[in-house]
């Protein structure tokens, strides 16, 4: 019995010693959230949020991690931002109480509740998305993940792409459904530098 305990300890203690959570701060310049929604059953309209912040931790030995991503809703951009003679642009409309209601909900956030690894890299991130004051679970599938030194600054960095989907009506964003689709596809491109 004693031999078995020592055997297990001999296995676990070095692993525990190796467990090394690394903290990263998101690089807002190279981190964006993109979305896609069906419009009038005809085409898919795409847009992005230009301003993000957050952090993530990664422990490749323990195969664990966490992510917290904050997105400024007022930074929504579809490319239609020149009003001309119209009362407002598509971006202006998305900021109103019909959609993101940026005057009242300036930020949406994603906080992970669990990260699944395949090999050394995260493959799936379960978490809670808070949008318009409503928090619902959303799962992001990590499609690409790379850790390396920045070729210029030599700073250690990690980043990748993840995607998922949600129903906007779950978050109380009901305006225009079904003409403007309920299902939203999300893509997040993240880069972060080690603290």
């Amino acid at each position: 019995m004693r031999t078995k305990v020592f055997g297990v300890l001999a296995l676990v203690v070095p692993l525990a010693a190796m467990a090394n959570p690394e903290n990263y701060t998101i690089d807002p310049t190279h981190t964006s959230a993109y979305f896609e929604v069906e419009h009038l059953g005809v085409s898919n309209q795409r847009g992005r949020f230009d301003r993000t912040s957050g952090k993530f931790t990664l422990d490749r030995v323990a195969k664990s991690g966490s992510v917290e991503l904050n997105i400024e809703t007022a930074s929504v951009s579809t490319g239609d931002n020149v009003k001309g003679s119209r009362p407002r642009t598509l971006d202006d409309h998305l900021k109103t109480a019909d959609f993101f209601n940026v005057a009242e909900f300036a930020r949406m956030s994603f906080k992970s509740t669990g990260v699944k690894f395949v090999g050394d890299n995260p493959a799936e991130i379960a978490g809670n998305l808070t949008l318009l004051g409503v928090t619902k679970p959303v799962t992001l599938k990590v499609e690409r993940w790379v850790c390396k030194d920045n070729p210029m600054s030599k700073k250690p960095m990690c980043g990748g792409n993840a995607s998922g989907s949600l129903k906007r009506t779950d978050f109380g964003m009901k305006y225009g459904v079904p003409a403007i689709g309920d299902e939203i596809r999300l893509w997040v491109s993240v880069e972060g530098y080690k603290d």
């Binding site: 020149v82 407002r88 109103t96 109480a97 005057a103 109380g172 009901k174 305006y175």
Partner: protein, 272 residues
Amino acid sequence: MQDLLNNPAVQSSVAPFLAGLLAAGVLFPLRLGGLAAAAGFFTTVYLVGDFTLESLDSKRKLVLVAIAAPVFGVIADLAFKPTRASGPVLGAVFAAAGGWVFFNLLKQKSGLDLALHGAGLAAFVIWTVTFSVALHSDALRAGAAGLGLGLGAGVSAVLGASALLGQYGMGLGAGCGAFLLLGMIFGPRVTPGTTLTLTAGAAASLVAVGAVLTGQLPWYALAALALVPVAVLLPLPKAAPWMQAIVAALYAAAAAVAAWVLAWLASRGSAG
């Protein structure tokens, strides 16, 4: 049928008008024809389908306060004799309710900005409710004011803020328009009471304030809108009720259209 009910024009004009006409037609013998305004407003709220209690943002709190307006109105009509103080008191109550509705937006402001927005909100709601409630015994003027306030706030909100708030305003206007139509046919037998005038004044003023706080509707569009319940006090011709109703509606429309024009000019002038 569902496609039809999903059409914003049906949601905010045809359906609330029919609901208002039904409510006014069925309930006016009971002195509750004024519920046409609430019928129109809540038909639009139902069809737009945004309302939920899960995340109580300002536009959903606005709906809750709008539910209170016809309730207060019915109680006032059936249980109390109207006095001169009714309008200002109800105005103050709904201005305070407006503070709750827009609390999340007001708390982001500070100092002079907060004072101006808070005082402006209160003054506009008190003014609009007071002058609306004062029309409680005049079917044609009250109906015309409700029509003008609803459409004025609604179209201004579409131009300056949100389509959803705009639809709420237009639904209210359509319900009041249905009441006015009944007034054109039956004349003074149809009584709006505080039920219609309070609902129209409170809901329209909150929709307009919401458009200022959540969008880019300029404050001076509210000044034009505030003239609606005053404009209908202008003299009406000594003619048949239908003719008087048309003239009263034109008075209201003049102020409402002024609000639209100001909203339109502001939206064209702002950056972007």
